[in-house]
């Protein structure tokens, strides 16, 4: 019998990204997960918490407790970590614009429980750059946002030394279409912007700066091209080592190590034949464990039903078991680096490094990553990369098993239950959270709350570190919305460029010339028949930040001749209906992936009705289960598209037909 060697390497931290409905329900889930052998916690917050709104804010409607746990004040935090020892737990929080606040709640809770904050360990994601570029839960303009990040770093380095105050993220860039080179370049540019900001704050004596550098960790992605991805991670390590030495003079190599956690690629996980996602996930995980020198510190994996909706506990357990099999059954952890010395790997690594260096120079020449975000440059690059990816899928050059090839399948027992293969969020969660919040407001000492908020405002204005006043707010029972609004009043708000104004090279279109030219003719001719060019409004109602679908629909629509209005993410149904009216569009397309499609689509339809726009056709797309799609059609939505509708040309043909039908023209049917 062969047994595992005793002196094998310790495995990475195994996490499951989770949280839903309420602090109480999420706490129960965490405790079962820990009992199953999970070694750290990874908290998913709901969108109102991530964007600094209270559960009873009109902007939070439909989103409370949907994609994560709602945390409105310190009592929620207490409940979330009920019976979980904070000093022994490693807690990762996916929180960004409100990171300083959630960290303050965590520190405040520790203080209340008599735990020394120096014992706390964990991570706040706290990377605003990728929020502007991909993830969408930004609030404040770049300047103040970078300052909040610097404040948390400066504070934790002194007072919570085991905390990773920021996690520079390239994960989300790949999910928005980035190539490996773009991922490398933009993540390193972000890290430089953060470190430069901390350095400029002058709060850290130069001798201690290497410790700050050491605290910077990364959150990366690994896609299905796992050899290249493995090389990307080796490239990351080499580039970080060089950069921290030359740019920040960190002499100790241990402090220059590239420390990273991973979530593997989810963009490539499919709705059709979802069981295939299991092998995709395992192969993607290989990329980040294979090379010992570039191995992940922490891994969380998506579930097989990723493209269908939120995972259930069993789905997440399956994902956790993938990690455990890799770590404990295989012999992977018994060897030194198995890729060292391979010329093929070394060549690929150099190629990636060279590409990334060029792009970093390019961004630096534009004034750094913040300038390149404000100008829209980086967002446009990402939208263009994603467009190329989708075109390759459409044309069949990029094969996706079960989607654009090998589509035939026997009936799957996994999905035989229809809509039952995903987690249903608790319908009562929003109401319960609002009641809890309103009760909480009655129990606190108002004078203390006011004083704490005044302290926060003063700190925001004076430039003093935001953490002490935020911790005081936490202890006084201030709510997430109050914290967010106080800073909104001082810092203002920001909407980054949408990046869809990319130049489309006509030659690129030649791959599908027949369909695109056919579409252009249909769009033009329908416009002629109606008297003016077809105009489409692409709308993203609610707090949902998933912009990929909306962006690609907008880009394609323009490409085939539509005049397109797209104002970016996070608009209210009222704003969308108003835009539809003022712009005189022929059709409204809504994109919703947050699970709040029923509430949001209904409100948009109602807002349109109240503006005499009953006849204006509305279509919707996103993560919408079949039964909900049927209900939406019942409400008057003309068509619903989901990830299985990967062919954007086909979608466009259909939208032209929707417009034609609503205007008394006959449908033209499928494209040839």
């Amino acid at each position: 019998m062969v047994v595992a060697r005793k002196d094998r390497d310790p495995p990475w931290l195994m996490r499951t990204y989770s949280g839903h409905s309420s602090a109480k329900a999420s706490n129960a889930l965490y405790r079962t997960n820990l009992a199953k052998g999970q070694t750290g916690l990874s908290v998913a917050f709901d969108l109102p918490t991530q964007t600094g709104y209270d559960a009873d804010s009109p902007l939070a409607r439909g989103e409370v407790g949907k994609v994560g746990v709602p945390i409105s004040h310190i009592e929620d935090m207490d409940q979330l970590f009920d019976q979980i020892p904070l000093d022994k737990m490693n807690t990762s929080m996916t929180i960004n614009a409100t990171a300083a606040w959630l960290l303050s709640l965590y520190i405040g809770l520790a203080q209340r429980r008599g735990i020394d904050p120096t014992k706390l360990s964990g991570t706040t994601q706290n990377d605003i750059v990728k929020e502007y570029l991909s993830r969408g839960t930004y609030i404040y303009p770049p300047g103040p946002s970078m300052r909040l990040i610097a404040d948390t770093i400066n504070y934790t380095v002194k007072h919570v030394p085991k905390w990773n105050p920021t996690n520079v993220c390239s994960y989300h860039l790949q999910e928005a279409g980035a190539t490996p080179v773009q991922e490398l370049a933009y993540a390193l540019c972000t890290a430089m912007a953060v470190l430069d900001r901390v350095k400029a704050s002058g709060e850290i004596p130069p001798a201690e700066f290497p410790q700050v550098v050491e605290r910077i960790s990364f959150f990366v992605n690994a896609g299905i091209r796992f050899v290249e991805e493995c090389c990307k991670l080796r490239a990351f390590g080499e580039m970080w080592d060089a950069l921290t030495l030359t740019r920040y003079q960190v002499e100790d190599p241990k402090l220059r190590r590239f420390r990273y956690g991973v979530q593997v690629n989810s963009l490539g996980l499919t709705e059709p034949q979802p069981e295939n996602n299991v092998q995709r996930i395992v192969l993607e995980m290989l990329a980040v464990v294979l090379s010992k020198r570039a191995r992940a510190r922490a891994i969380q994996l998506p579930a097989w039903n990723e493209a269908m909706g939120l995972p259930r506990p069993w789905d997440q357990q399956w994902a956790l078991r993938m990690q455990q099999v890799m770590a404990f059954e295989t012999d992977l952890l018994e060897y030194a680096d198995i890729l060292d010395g391979s010329p093929v790997i070394a060549a690929k690594v150099s190629e990636l490094i060279e590409g990334a260096r060029k792009e970093i120079e390019n961004v630096e020449a534009q004034g750094g990553i913040i300038a390149a975000i404000e100008s829209g440059y980086i967002k446009r690059e990402l939208v263009a990369s994603h467009m190329n990816r989708l075109r390759a899928i459409e044309s069949g050059d990029l094969k996706i098993i079960g989607v654009n090839c090998f589509q035939e399948t026997a009936e799957s027992p996994l999905t035989a239950g229809g809509g039952d293969a995903i987690m249903k969020s608790d319908e009562t969660a929003e109401r319960m959270q609002i009641e809890r919040l309103q009760a909480h407001r009655k129990t606190r000492n108002d004078a203390e709350v006011r004083a704490a908020l005044q302290g926060l405002t003063d700190a925001a204005k004076s430039g003093e570190n935001i953490m002490p006043s935020s911790i005081r707010c936490a202890l006084a029972g201030v709510s997430t919305g109050e914290w967010g609004d106080s800073l909104r009043a001082v810092f203002g708000e920001f909407r980054p460029p949408t990046g869809i104004d990319i130049t489309i090279d006509s030659r690129e279109v030649l791959g599908k010339k027949d369909q695109v030219t056919d579409l252009r003719e249909r769009v033009a001719s329908t416009g002629n028949a109606l008297g003016r060019p077809l105009k489409l409004l692409v709308g993203k109602p609610g707090l949902d930040g998933h912009s990929n679908g909306a962006e690609q629909v907008a880009v394609k629509a323009r490409d085939v001749g539509f005049e397109v209005v797209y104002d970016g993410i996070r608009l209210t149904p009222q704003q969308i209906a108003q835009a539809a009216q003022e712009e005189g569009v022929h059709v409204v397309g809504l994109s919703i992936l947050s699970g709040s499609h029923m509430e949001l689509v209904e409100s948009v339809l109602q807002e349109l009705r109240s503006r005499d726009l009953t006849g204006l056709p509305v279509v919707a797309g996103g993560i919408i289960p079949q039964e909900d799609a049927d209900r939406l059609v019942g409400l008057g939505v003309r068509a619903v598209y989901t990830p299985k509708d990967f062919n954007l040309n086909a979608i466009m043909g259909d939208i032209v037909d929707v417009v034609r039908e609503s205007n008394g023209l006959e449908r033209l049917g499928a494209l040839h």
């Binding site: 695109v516 028949a529 085939v560 539509f562 009216q581 712009e583 023209l665």
Partner: protein, 368 residues
């Protein structure tokens, strides 16, 4: 041989839809009454009608505009044109100005023009100004319509002319934002009572533009992004030094403002210049003349765009057209439609060119 821009003769281009739809078109007289009551839905419907190129829609558009014009036409409201290179901050500045106007309780209508892609690339457009201009979540006193320039020359779409007239009937201020323009390909002189050029700090474009000599000098200059420091100040002083032009008016001072849309610096003073210029035009009696002249310029530009120079000649030549338009300044749309139909009939039949006179105008019913 003369040639006709085939896409301009709408409905005649080869298309799948040979028969036209029964597009529901509003009753122009009733719509006008609602527009004058400032009903948003009516304003939207009106703009849609003015955008519509179907023959029936054109007729109704003329009727709609006839109802909306009148005395007010030549003396009320303020039509503001904003132009400048791409990304200079035109929309952001308009947004900052809207805050001021709205604060003073004035209703604002905006027409924002963006470029279309080339016809061989489908001719589509991304209309992206709206979100930069809009600053509050809901405001009944602000109405924004985005337009694609549909590959027409100049930084504005031809639809801007009738649409801005409609908006003047129901908003106190009407702003036209042109596409971001490079140097000379734009003719902005005719777009508004007050024309503002937004300069990008430290860009050679601005100076080139000033030297180009193609356009009349804008009435107000803004050098935006002054938060970026020295480059903005340098650009402002370069503009200040640029040579005075022959068409420069002695009695207007052509102010150059250093502003920052994002930091809201200098906006109040900038805003005051617009009111001052509007007052200047009214006091000197220029406003009515300017608007009449702009209207004629639009008619000529539109006819020329659709029918070329030869078309203008067929219609009697520039001078004669201008003279006729001058007769009834409140019916320029009617006059334009008549000229256009006349030319269409000439171009579609193989007739000998003759000089049309008013009496000779063909019966409207008889044409397409």
């Amino acid at each position: 041989m003369w040639s006709v821009n085939p896409t301009a003769l709408s409905g005649l281009a080869p298309c799948i839809d040979r028969e036209m739809t029964h597009v529901k078109l509003p009753d122009p007289e009733r719509l006008a009454a609602r527009i004058l009551r400032r009903e948003r839905a009516a304003v939207a419907d009106g703009l849609n009608l003015l955008d519509n190129k179907l023959a029936e829609a054109r007729d109704r558009a003329v009727r709609l505009l006839a109802c909306l014009s009148g005395e007010r036409w030549l003396k009320d409201g303020h039509l503001v044109g904003v132009t400048g290179p791409p990304g200079a901050g035109k929309s952001s500045l308009v947004s900052a100005m809207i805050r001021e106007w709205r604060h003073a309780g004035r209703m604002v209508g905006v027409l924002a023009v963006d470029p279309s892609s080339r016809p061989e690339l489908g001719g589509g457009a991304l209309l992206g100004d709206r979100i930069r201009i809009k600053n509050s979540s809901y405001d009944d006193g602000l109405f924004i319509r985005s337009l694609a320039n549909r590959n027409q020359l100049g930084g504005v779409a031809t639809e801007v002319w009738p649409m801005s007239c409609l908006m003047l009937a129901c908003f106190d201020i009407v702003v036209i934002e042109t596409v971001g323009v490079g140097q000379t390909e734009i003719d902005i002189a005719d777009i508004g009572d007050t024309v503002c050029y937004v300069a990008q700090p430290a860009s050679g474009d601005t100076i080139q533009y000033l030297k180009s000599g193609i356009i009349e000098i804008p009435d107000i200059f803004a050098v935006n992004k002054c938060d970026l420091g020295p480059p903005a100040r340098k650009t402002a002083s370069e503009i200040g030094r640029s040579a005075p032009r022959q068409d420069r008016r002695e009695d207007w001072d052509y102010p150059v403002c250093l502003v920052s849309a994002t930091m809201n610096t200098g906006i109040k003073e900038f805003h005051d210049h617009f009111d001052r210029h509007r007052k200047f035009l009214a006091d000197t009696g220029l406003l009515g003349k300017l608007r009449t002249r702009h209207q004629s310029a639009w008619v000529i530009r539109l006819l020329k765009e659709e029918f070329g120079t030869i078309g203008l000649e067929l219609a009697g030549g520039r001078a004669s057209i201008e003279a006729r338009l001058g007769e009834d300044p409140s019916d320029q749309f009617g006059e334009y439609e008549r000229l256009r139909k006349h030319l269409l009939s000439r171009f579609l039949s193989v007739n000998q060119p003759t000089n049309p006179t008013k009496e000779e105008h063909p019966d409207e019913q008889a044409i397409v």
